[in-house]
């Protein structure tokens, strides 16, 4: 059973398109995250939700909009895709607003390529 699952695994799309990435966790965690790993391998947080409430919103273009219909799901919608959006996007979840005691459980990532 996959704990944190993301779909799709690969996404190739043209500039200007709108796309969504879905994430679901079956761990009973109440906090979920989106991280972006860029070409320099930096893993940077984008958003975090706790029980459907947005608790972290880093400096991300407003073309990126997260949506959490319930605490088991956190989707990422991206409007007007640009070349610089090409990256691997990781979803993660944790028990509570984890300080570092338990760690996050990550999904396997979605590789987005904008052409």
């Amino acid at each position: 059973d996959t704990a944190v699952s993301q779909t799709p695994k690969y996404l190739v799309t043209q500039m200007g398109n709108d796309k969504s990435i879905k994430c679901e966790q079956n761990l009973g965690h109440d906090t979920m995250y989106w991280y972006k790993q860029d070409s320099k391998k930096f893993l940077k947080i984008m958003f975090s939700y706790n029980n459907k409430e947005l608790i972290i919103n880093e400096t991300v273009p407003n073309r990126f909009s997260p949506k959490s219909p319930d605490k088991a799901h956190l989707n990422l919608h991206i409007n007007s895709l640009e070349l610089g959006d090409s990256a691997v996007y990781f979803c993660a979840s944790s028990r509570g607003r984890d300080r570092g005691l338990y760690g996050y459980t990550f999904g396997s990532g979605t590789r987005l390529t904008v052409v």
Binding site: K44, G100, L101, Y102, G107, G109
Partner: protein, 115 residues
């Protein structure tokens, strides 16, 4: 501004020997430090963490050491096994302006354990 740095992009170690992965940080307010392991095409997997009030934490073959005065931590793997070959990310937990926590990751060190 890279607050968590892993200055060695790669490391090769003979099977059975000790692997030492290093990480430096700049922010003395970090609360917890974590190590993650990542295989290709998978998400990072939580390995071990240490609170900022401790200087050592051990879990089986993995030990993390924290030197707060030097703002340095290291992960020791003894004995190293071929299955340990992966990219290892160091992360630090920082409180945000909203009172929650986020992880700041280093860029990773690729460990290769030679049989």
């Amino acid at each position: 501004d890279q607050q968590v740095k892993q200055n060695s992009p790669s490391l090769s170690v003979q099977e059975g020997r000790i692997s030492i992965l290093n990480c430096d940080y700049t922010n003395s307010m970090f609360d917890y430090f974590l190590w993650y392991k990542k295989y290709p095409a998978e998400g990072p997997t939580f390995l071990i963490s240490i609170s900022s009030i401790k200087d050592k934490n051990e879990d089986g073959r993995f030990t993390v050491f924290l030197n707060k005065s030097a703002k340095h931590l290291s992960l020791h793997i003894v004995p190293s096994q071929p299955g340990d070959s992966a990219v290892y990310f160091c992360a630090a937990s920082a409180i945000t302006t909203s009172g929650t926590y986020k992880y700041i990751f280093g860029t990773g060190t690729r460990l290769k354990v030679l049989a």
